[in-house]
């Protein structure tokens, strides 16, 4: 795979010079804030018919927010959207759909139990009178669609039985069958293998040649360089590059995504690490069918081991599997201080000294209607009770208050409901919860996701402190700053496997981003 040149050898031919075409969609000065967070700060964006515009940026740069504004999901606070030279204002996704702006979401949202034909023509079935479906006509229509785009699928196949790439194709064709003017593809290739990606890109190029305007959101930069005509690079809610792909190079794009090339946030070197001591945690050929393959690494006391990769590379799955909380049966084993931890049982993992901070705070972390006391004390109730399971409320309140003070949680008090707290403070509550279990190995999945900048700093300081106290930390994150600031070593994941490790001076934003986007760690370059 080529990483260096701006135009990879396998590049598809762009249909025409992008500048010559009139913009199908033209946005100017879009801004949008969520509470205190300014997600977009005056973004200009345009797509011309028959071209593919790439949209790249780190997580939280504002890509999906921008895509959602175009698709009518969010209304911008200010700024203009012009569609076919006419100003539009969408107040809902249906309106954008009616104009022909269709989004293909990252998840495969097809009905798995229905056939391909039923899915393709869902809610658009050819009928006789009284809504009786014309089975043959429907099948033929589906067949025509599939043949047109050369998808090797039978209309009668059940979607659930198809491999991922074909599902993705069906999903794209379904979107195409709505006759879109603009097609927004959100990470279309993240669930596909290398060979499948080729086929998907070919389909995109082919549809573009028919006049559809594409917006391609992707973390895979090599793909962007292969298939796109134009490129928008976003960072911190702003478009930092807007121009033809041909006018830039992959290293330039990486630099634009990362921003300041001087790393202000230097990693502190931690002392007292003895290479000879037995590792705190050993993970041996951990695997989850379809998600993780043969994961192996070791973690030492007081070490912060980063794990990163693109969305869909299996980061969250790794965090859960190490904790024994994988949705599917995992293979391989985890050892703490040389002793194997029984698999598939979070309670056993906790008892062995592993803690897991999940990334989905609202669904898998906090209990919003419960008090801070209940949230923090949940895993340690047994420790806080007397004979017969009667709770020691004084001890529970004291534990909570101590943690609120220690971690600087801004809350009305221990009896406050978790829902009253801001995201950052909820996250600190979860830190308190897991720290109280006195973990030896602390697995953190995106510990600073969705919290504001100030809280991010505080949480990072907390992580540093925990490591200094001798806890081994597995920091699963896609935030480059976090990796650079906190980690001693960084493992790179790509499509469910660990493809490399960076340590020492090589833990840098550009190196990490390049390795994640390309799926390989390059040899030390000059």
């Amino acid at each position: 795979m080529s990483q260096q040149s701006a135009i990879a050898p396998g590049r598809f031919e762009a249909s025409a010079a992008p500048a010559a075409r009139p913009a199908l969609l033209d946005c100017e000065g879009l801004t949008l804030s969520f509470g205190a967070v300014r997600a977009l700060r005056g973004v200009g964006f345009s797509v011309a018919a028959g071209t593919v515009r790439g949209l790249v940026g780190e997580n939280g740069a504002g890509k999906s927010t921008l895509a959602k504004i175009i698709a009518g999901v969010h209304a911008p606070d200010s700024g203009t959207i012009r569609f076919e030279s006419r100003a539009v204002r969408f107040t809902g996704a249906e309106q954008a759909l009616a104009k022909g702006i269709v989004t293909v979401h990252q998840d495969i949202n097809l009905i798995q139990t229905m056939s391909v034909a039923e899915n393709l023509l869902l809610n658009n079935e050819p009928t006789y009178r009284f809504g009786i479906i014309r089975g043959k006509t429907m099948r033929a229509a589906a067949q025509r669609l599939l043949e047109t785009y050369e998808i090797p699928v039978d209309p009668d196949d059940t979607v659930g039985s198809l491999p991922n790439d074909l599902k993705k194709m069906v999903q794209i064709v379904k979107a195409v069958s709505r006759d879109p003017r603009i097609l927004i593809l959100d990470e279309p290739t993240s669930s596909l293998t290398e060979a499948q990606v080729r086929v998907a890109l070919k389909l995109i190029r082919r549809l573009a040649s028919q006049g559809v305007g594409f917006v391609l959101i992707s973390h895979f930069l090599t793909e962007i360089f292969e298939v796109c005509d134009d490129l928008t690079v976003m960072r911190d809610g702003e478009a930092v590059y807007d121009g033809p792909v041909a006018a830039t190079t992959l290293p330039q794009v990486v630099a634009a995504m990362v921003g300041r090339s001087v790393d202000a946030a230097r990693r502190k070197t931690r002392v007292g690490r003895d290479a000879d001591e037995t590792p705190l945690m050993i993970v041996e050929n951990l695997g989850v069918p379809g998600f993780l393959h043969d994961i192996a690494f070791t973690l030492r006391r007081g070490e912060v081991l980063g794990v990163t990769g693109l969305a869909g590379s299996g980061l969250g799955e790794l965090a859960r599997a190490v904790f024994g909380a994988s949705a599917r049966k995992a293979s391989g084993r985890v050892l703490i201080e040389g002793r194997p931890v029984p698999g598939g049982d979070p309670a056993a993992s906790l008892a062995a000294g592993i803690a897991l901070l999940t990334s989905d705070r609202l669904r898998e972390g906090i209990l919003p209607d419960f008090t801070l006391i209940d949230n923090i004390c949940l895993p340690i109730l047994s420790r806080l009770s007397r004979i017969g399971g009667a709770l020691d409320f004084a001890a529970m309140a004291a534990t909570t208050t101590r943690n609120i003070e220690r971690l600087g949680v801004r809350a009305p008090g221990a009896f406050a409901l978790a829902r009253q707290l801001s995201g950052g403070n909820q996250q600190k509550v979860l830190f308190a919860k897991w720290l109280e279990t006195q973990p030896k190995a602390f697995v953190m999945d995106e510990p600073t996701i969705g919290v504001d900048v100030g809280a991010k700093e505080e949480i990072r300081a907390i992580i540093d402190e925990i490591a200094a106290a001798g806890v081994g930390i597995l920091l699963v994150t896609t935030e480059l700053d976090e990796l650079v600031l906190l980690c001693d070593r960084v493992l790179i994941m790509f499509r469910g496997a660990i493809v490399g490790e960076l340590s020492g001076e090589r833990v840098q934003r550009e190196t990490i981003l390049r390795a994640s986007a390309c799926g390989e760690v390059q040899a030390v370059d000059a």
């Binding site: 999906s64 008892a351 949940l378 009770s385 009667a390």
Partner: protein
């Protein structure tokens, strides 16, 4: 990208939260008060000692089952088999005490047969609950469906045990307890005395409370302690609120749910034995239809249909409201056929109200 709520000042949300928390209680108590006043106006015999005594006795069985149902619903599960389990346990008790050993009459049985008849049926519910829990957690089938099957199985077994015939002549000791009123409490039911004398103290009457009501009271005291004051209760709330969070916190959710299903089974069995002692006989139809009245009572008491919230003591209010409606229909001499209509309407109203509240609090 996640939206963030701006930091709020401390006092206002706390007040709001506490209001929000007690809102459903205030509401339920309000409905209850209105009902009582309306009934007293409609029929001045309503708050008479005889009627109140009647009411309490009728409520005891439903109260006991509703306590278990509240726990299982807080855990996020349902048990619709309770009516049949009440019936089967009652039948089991009656069969052991009356039919098991040949004797001229049940009072001639040795004491241990009667004791066995009291204790053995108490294991029926927990056993069936363990079985239901096993299927629910291992096969991942909704408890509503599994207990629906159990509803039919247990009812059929009840008919087998009783041979479809009532079992009369329960030993005298048992009736003595079940129909006895050994302890008195002052209750404001002396309306006639108050009206004739005009002095307020006359309103209070030393009122003998049925023994079986005390049984229900003990069940609620225990239930309150377990749910509010023990690790078990906290875990039940957590599992019902968010199973994933609970599991990741090291709580064995499957085991806990099974335990809850055993608890509701136990309360159903206890209720069955209590009903035997109260009526002094077993009917093959004992407990029929009770499950829906109980679930309705729990919901009216403010326990959600999706688990994780609810208070066991508030269920008492729900039971009273259901029992009052039935009593009102009796007193007002409305045909018994309307009873289901009235109860059903109340259930629908309660569920709608709950949905409405959920929507309002979601919007906030």
């Amino acid at each position: 990208m996640t939206t963030l709520s701006a930091p709020k000042s401390a006092a206002a949300p706390r007040l709001l939260a506490s209001l929000n928390r007690s809102y459903s209680l205030i509401q339920a108590l309000g409905v209850l008060l209105i009902l009582i006043v309306a009934m007293q106006i409609a029929n001045d015999r309503f708050l008479s000692p005889a009627n109140v005594g009647n009411l309490l006795g009728q409520m005891a069985v439903m109260l006991i089952v509703a306590a278990g149902m509240t726990i299982v619903m807080i855990a996020g599960e349902f048990d619709v088999s309770v009516g049949s389990v009440v019936g089967l346990s009652a039948a089991g008790a009656g069969w052991i005490m009356v039919r098991w050993m040949p004797a001229p009459n049940a009072d001639a049985h040795p004491w241990w047969v009667i004791a066995l008849g009291l204790v053995a049926p108490l294991f029926i519910g927990p056993l069936l609950g363990a079985f239901v829990g096993f299927i629910v957690t291992k096969a991942r089938i909704p408890s509503f469906i599994v207990t629906l099957g159990m509803l039919m199985v247990a009812r059929s077994l009840t008919l087998v045990v009783t041979q479809g015939q009532p079992i009369p002549d329960i030993p005298h000791v048992i009736r003595l307890f079940g129909q006895g009123r050994w302890v008195q409490l002052p209750l404001p039911v002396g309306f006639s005395a108050y009206e004739s004398s005009g002095s307020l103290p006359d309103l209070l009457v030393w009122f003998p409370i049925q023994n079986i009501v005390w049984v229900a009271a003990i069940v609620y005291a225990a239930g309150w302690f377990v749910m509010e004051r023990t690790t078990f209760g906290k875990r039940v709330y957590a599992v019902g609120s968010n199973r994933t969070v609970a599991t990741l916190s090291g709580i064995r959710a499957d085991r806990l749910k099974t335990q809850c299903l055993m608890i509701v089974g136990f309360t159903a069995s206890l209720a069955g034995v209590v009903s035997v002692s109260r009526l002094g006989a077993v009917s093959p139809n004992t407990g029929e239809g009770l499950e829906f009245e109980v679930i309705a009572a729990v919901v009216i008491g403010g326990t959600g249909l999706y688990g994780g919230q609810g208070k066991i003591l508030r269920t008492i209010i729900g039971v009273i409201i259901i029992a009052l409606t039935r009593n009102f229909l009796n007193l007002a001499r409305i045909e018994i056929f309307w009873q289901g209509f009235a109860t059903g309407t109340i259930i629908l109203a309660a569920v709608l109200l709950e949905a409405l509240q959920r929507r309002i609090s979601d919007r906030r």
